[in-house]
Symmetry: C2
Subunit: 233 residues, 2 copies
DNA sequence: TACATTAATATGTAGCTACATAATAATGTC
DNA sequence: GACATTATTATGTAGCTACATATTAATGTA
């Protein structure tokens, strides 16, 4: 009795995931070809393909041309982080956003920033240190380097009024973003800026972006004690 | 001269992104319909659709049926975190993996864990405290709660030999995963287990997973001082 | 046997059609 | 004018065909 109802790729995906879950296909096993699954489910290969692409993206299976599809031996947890503009993050929590430029100057790239960009030699960059506030309390301190060759217009932006964070995100989409997250103890300098106590544990987000091969910006954002980063399911 | 060469959805996506980048379409603007773009580029609507889906997923545009496609006013940085099994993470760094069960006992759900699962009432859970080691040094300490109703088989697993982390990830795929990341100062207890100094800043990853509506596990993983979490671009 | 060449194969992509779905706009009725 | 009903519209999905691409397997040759 061939079922003639249409099958959504979501239901196909769930069926295949279920089979992997209940060990019909175990870790390392090769799955049937898309065409076979299509025949089995009574749907088109394109529908199976869509389902498979999703399973591959979520890290459950691996696909290789000619090699076929295999269940990953070492499943990974893949989570998508949503990092909004800081102002919006603050406002969404119902707080009043504040912004404060601390320092800005043109400098040659520091070794650490060169490493972030994987640059072989130093380039002129604008270094901007600024503080984001929530209800007048320090929220996130950012130490940002902006590549002047890639973003020359930044010099004509009044960074005392508009944060570089916001200007860049609105005016300079990027094609690649590297992220690094870690914790570090607050220094004396942190204490002063973030009004934290020395010895507080601070959450640090380092972000480096490119457009094509050209470096845009690299920054380290240090959050106030108690800050938490969530996934948006 | 209509170009009859085939256009890949990647190149279409890049073209549209480029237009958004160079302000042909600004934040909040409505983009042309897929069909119009297709005519403009000389490709099929499905190709534009594929490109648009990618742009929507990366957070640059928003799509709504009938409403059309608009450039997001508040672009977000979307980054995908890859959280592998701890053993593999350690081995991939070239270190020798070690594992040590510290405690395990059946307990009613603690209020904090109930909140993570959004459970209205307590359920019997297996609480497992274990330490992952890299080259015999503490790497990550995990305090895990496993729902016995959803995963009854866990009671027959010898958790002194195999980590719950590994058993679950191999045997219990999840459909939903919530993640929370933050920093906290090390306590005296942490110092003992992680061999950290009191006052060290510790990186904490809290992870809660479900299969369908059923809770699987909720854990807090505390990493050794110096631990960093990366995105895999 | 060793190595280069060729064939086979499973996934990946582009293009088309047809229809589904959600959200807005237009319309009708009281 | 207020509200329910209906049409319109842009995206979303399913199915099909054809071809591209990467990789393995098979084959041929020295």
């Amino acid at each position: 009795m061939t079922d003639k109802q249409r099958h959504s790729w979501v239901s196909i995906r769930d069926s295949i995931r279920e089979m992997i879950l209940n060990s019909t296909y175990g870790p390392g096993d090769k799955l049937p070809r898309d065409e076979e699954f299509a025949a089995q489910f009574g749907c088109a290969r394109s529908t199976v393909h869509r389902a498979m692409r999703d399973l591959a993206q979520s890290g459950l299976v691996e696909r290789r041309r000619k090699g076929g599809t295999t269940v990953r031996r070492d499943p990974v947890t893949r989570a998508t982080l949503n990092i909004p503009i800081t102002r919006l993050e603050v406002e969404q929590k119902g707080s009043t956003y504040g912004y404060q430029l601390i320092r800005q100057s043109v400098q040659p790239t520091s070794p650490a920033i060169m490493a972030n960009f994987a640059l072989p030699e130093a380039r002129p960059m604008l270094r901007v240190e600024a503080l984001h506030l929530a209800d007048s309390r320090p929220y996130i301190f950012e130490d940002r380097w902006i590549c002047l060759e890639t973003v020359p217009e930044i010099t004509s932006v009044d960074l005392t009024r508009e944060s570089a964070n916001e200007w860049l995100v609105r005016n300079r989409p990027y094609s690649r973003c590297d992220l690094r997250l870690y914790a570090r103890p607050g220094s004396a300098n942190d204490s002063e800026i973030l009004q934290s106590k020395p010895g507080d544990a601070l959450f640090v987000m380092e972000r480096t972006t490119w457009i094509g091969e050209a470096p845009i910006t690299s920054l380290s954002a240090v959050a106030h004690p108690g800050y938490q980063l969530f996934t948006q399911g």
